[in-house]
Amino acid sequence: MTDDTTPMTDGGTDEEARTDGGPPATVPPDDETPTWTERKEHSSGLAQLTYQYFERSRREDEDLRAESTYVERDVLGFPTWPHETIRNLAITSFFVGIIVLIAALMPAHYGEPANPGSTPGIILPDWYLYWSFGLLKLNPINPSLEVLGGNIAISNEFLGITAHGIVFGAITLVPFLNKGGARRPVEQPFWAAVGVTGVVLSITLAALAIQNFFPISLDLLLTLTFMLPLVGGIITYAVLKTMREGYMYDLNRRYYMLRPPK
């Protein structure tokens, strides 16, 4: 048995916490084991930078929490059960029901078996890839190098692939180009216009993919493919810009009533 004056391994003297003797289960921290502060001082390079940043970040959190004026109200919102759960079940069954209904009304088809020897007149993927297929039919605008006697600079297939790269690249870059706190289209008519341009372009590209179904010349179709999105974008910009004044006035007034400037 240990006698009562022996300090415990962590330096404490609380009898409740004392074990019933025997060697301590863990190796006691000796002078070799650095405390947190010491670790921070010992570390150098990246580890030190990490510690420093974490400390700043933690302090920032604390400051924000101290400044916060967030008020909890008595009734906070709809409870998960039953309100949210029943709503979600309703949405889910409705959606699955629609899928089953449409599947029953319009069964999938299977067409002719594959024949490597005969190319069908119209090759099409499912509708959701029409836009991508349209990008492969841009060969009329493939720049030709007159100096090389009309040779094209890049192959038509490669042009299609480049176009895909541009589309995906542009979409990926969006969050890095458009920053700031604005959330509503009216607040940023330009970016809403860019969005509408993109949506209309995906539709016109799909139309380009099924060009055989349109009784208009290919030149006209190509022009429309690029002009319609622009027109859509310009109209969006004009409309939102016009709405903006009144809308922002309303919004700002609401904010000022609730959070008068200090």
Binding site: T80, G111, L124, F168, T172, P175
Partner: protein, 269 residues
């Protein structure tokens, strides 16, 4: 220190002291027996926590706090599009697993060019012979289309509500990966029946792969199993469709939704 085992927690003795009905005794005895072996108390605590979590009230949102609903309410249904993508994905997964019982990824059986192959025949069999087979295949096909549509619209919702801005850029990029994989899911599935359009859609795929500089031929080998289409192509598309993509897409969706969970939904200002 005494060596005699002292059981402060002699549950059986405690049980005897209680005045219990037969049912209560049986229940407690079973509970104690199981708990001594499996420590189920811990799990009961988890369950209890979950019960309270499930009855949590959502905190008042920014939108509610500043009474902005009447300026934004018409966006709200669009916030369900992400979940609808998941639901359609699940329906496709279940119906697809069932289709897998009948489908065979093989180009065997065609004597002359243009003859039906084993893959094609198995699809015809599903549509005509299997009980409710046409329904299964139709549900699979339509749920796939619904999923792609929901993902497209979900992306538009995120774009037009500006929800991709800091700190949600990572989720946007993850979304771009997810939509690409969703389209690849659709494409690989389109090839499987090995019908005319499947074959020629895959042909265009190979040609595109081959036109890519540097990695082109390697990509064609990897995805299509060669430069001309055949059995290797079908099996690669099959494995992509039923093995690789399901795991990758499920994992990425979990990550995507996990990040939404951690960051909270982006609210209008």
């Amino acid at each position: 220190m005494s060596l005699k085992k002292q059981d402060d927690m002699d549950h059986n003795a405690w049980l005897k002291n209680q005045d219990l009905t037969a049912i209560e005794t049986a229940f407690l005895t079973t509970l104690i027996w199981l708990d001594k072996r499996l420590r189920i108390v811990d799990y009961l605590e988890l369950l209890e926590t979950m019960y309270y979590r499930a009855n949590l009230q959502m905190p008042k949102s920014h939108t509610e706090q500043y009474d902005l609903d009447n300026k934004f309410w018409y966006w709200y249904p669009l916030y369900s599009l992400g979940s609808l993508s998941i639901i359609a994905y699940l329906v496709a997964a279940v119906s697809g697993a069932l289709l897998g019982f009948y489908y065979s990824p093989s180009t065997a059986g065609a004597v002359a060019q243009g003859d039906p192959t084993a893959a094609y025949d198995s699809v015809v069999m599903i549509m005509t012979d299997v009980q409710f087979g046409y329904m299964l295949r139709s549900i699979h096909s339509w749920s796939a289309q619904f999923m792609v549509a929901a993902v497209f619209l979900h992306m538009l919702r995120v774009y037009f509500t500006g929800s991709y801005k800091e700190p949600r850029e990572v989720n946007w990029i993850l979304g771009v990966v997810l939509i690409s994989l969703t389209l690849l899911f659709g494409f690989s599935g389109y090839v499987l029946p090995w019908k005319q359009l499947s074959f020629w859609a895959a042909q265009i795929g190979v040609e595109m792969a081959l036109a890519t500089p540097i990695v082109g031929e390697w990509a064609a080998q990897l995805l299509f199993g060669g430069f001309t289409l055949g059995q290797a192509t079908l099996v690669r598309m099959y494995i992509l469709h039923v093995f690789v993509l399901p795991f990758v897409v499920t994992g990425l969706i979990a990550l995507h939704v996990g990040i939404v969970w951690v960051q909270g939904i982006a609210e209008p200002h």
